[in-house]
Symmetry: C2
Subunit: 272 residues, 2 copies
């Protein structure tokens, strides 16, 4: 499997890109403790695993979409190693909560990206209580494609945002999650021939492999994502497909990332 774009994402330590067992809970994602350990070991081995956001392929597009965070409150859904929470603190946010279902992930976040304004909490996205009108900004990076009922999350995010609050997220693109095996079709000599999709309108579970682990993701159509927002009080500000930045184009295989979209960045405002 050749995904240099997502390899870069991994380098950004977005562990949530492959969900470990302890992130699962009731959400039935993975069920192999060994794979889990293996997964973390694979991660630990990566030489650039501590580079953070600047090593993430989509960061050059996601970063400019953040609103001003000076004096603001920020909730991060699926915070992983906490890079985005740290970024929010650096931008002047005064109250930051990162939640993640994974105990290991939260431990890593506390080690790597602690801060006076930041709280990390072990919690699934479905379990958090989303208090009304609590947050100025809710962010989520590469976590929502593990959520079966994203519309319910959208409704809860709307509730917990203050009037005019911003919801900024990055989700695996429907073209990617509807991919056959979520992998390229290869030529006989092992080159990516094209990206095949199938069963696009049949939403829900997709069984995939990532870093040697079995990972279950949820495929949502573009309609579900966009209308899930528009029908629940949001106004769309930005819908962008991530393209790798020029400075990463010399990475082997990166040109293939121009052949199909992998990530969808969305910025929406809560109209109240």
């Amino acid at each position: 499997m050749q995904f240099p774009f997502i390899e870069q994402m991994k380098l950004g330590s977005r562990l949530e890109a492959a969900v470990p067992k302890d992130k699962i809970g009731d959400v039935k994602v993975m069920n192999n403790e060994y794979d889990n350990e293996k997964f973390f070991e694979e991660y630990a081995k990566m030489s650039r695993s501590k580079e953070g956001l600047k090593a993430a392929g989509e960061w050059h597009q996601l970063k400019p979409l953040f609103p001003s965070l000076e004096g603001k409150s920020v909730l991060d859904l699926g915070c992983g190693y906490g890079w985005h929470c740290k970024f929010a603190e650096e931008q002047g946010a005064t109250k930051i909560l990162g939640i993640d279902l994974s105990k290991k992930m939260i431990e890593e976040a506390q080690k790597r990206n602690s801060g006076n304004q930041i709280e990390y909490r072990i919690s699934g996205l479905e379990e958090y209580d989303y208090p009304e009108n609590e947050w100025d900004c809710v962010i989520s990076n590469l976590a929502l494609h593990y959520i079966e009922d994203i519309v319910e999350i959208f409704q809860k995010v709307y509730r917990t945002l203050k009037p005019g609050g911003i919801f900024l997220f990055n989700i695996e693109h429907p073209v990617f999650t509807a991919g056959v095996g979520q992998d390229w079709i290869y030529t006989d000599d092992g080159k990516p021939q094209y990206w095949a999709i199938d069963n696009y309108f049949i939403t829900g579970e997709r069984n995939t492999h990532f870093l040697g682990c079995d990972v279950v993701k949820q495929h949502h159509t573009l309609t579900q994502i966009i209308m899930g927002l528009l029908n629940n009080g949001f106004e769309l500000k930005v819908v962008e497909e991530a393209e790798p930045p020029k400075e990463m184009m010399d990475i082997p295989g990166m040109e293939d990332e121009l052949r199909r979209p992998m990530m969808l960045l969305v910025k929406a405002i809560a109209k109240k």
Copy 2:
């Protein structure tokens, strides 16, 4: 090629789905007069070619997206046989202009769907003058994927819409226009194996075959379509991928239409 969904579209006589030579003008779409004649002949042969909108696979989704047209003015970009202009008149619109680059198409529209409130005019989408604040509603059905610079059209549509005016269009889905040969990959025994896409971020010309003709379409990314609207004064109201209606699911091959999205319906409002 098995596209029962678009076959239904043809039955709705959306001739613009394959652009004849005289629709081309400066827009360089096709250049074979014989293919043109052949294309029209193929059309003339179709037994359901006069059924209109109800035979169009996406109509069940597009129809509810129309705003109230009572006493309103409507511009149809790429009107084809004029079915949508006729619908607008039936809905009470009092001033309707359908433009199409094709002289033959306009002749057909005048024959099939003339009306006291309707004017048909031979004009490419790029050539129309888009007078400021002129129209309550601008519609376009399966024409914009022949336009190289859709953002320019979006800007002109914004200009010509009255404040709060509606832009409602249906365009071939980026997954469809980025399709390899814009066709299925087939198994050895001729069944659609999957839908392959490639060169997604390389926008522009795609050479395709349709009804025995060479047709050049323009591939736009989702980003181009959505941001082209959001960056030019529009607010998004609806973004929906068309699914064939249940009552068409017994048509042979129609179930395959659930395997990849073919059309994108968009409703936007001009904020002025």
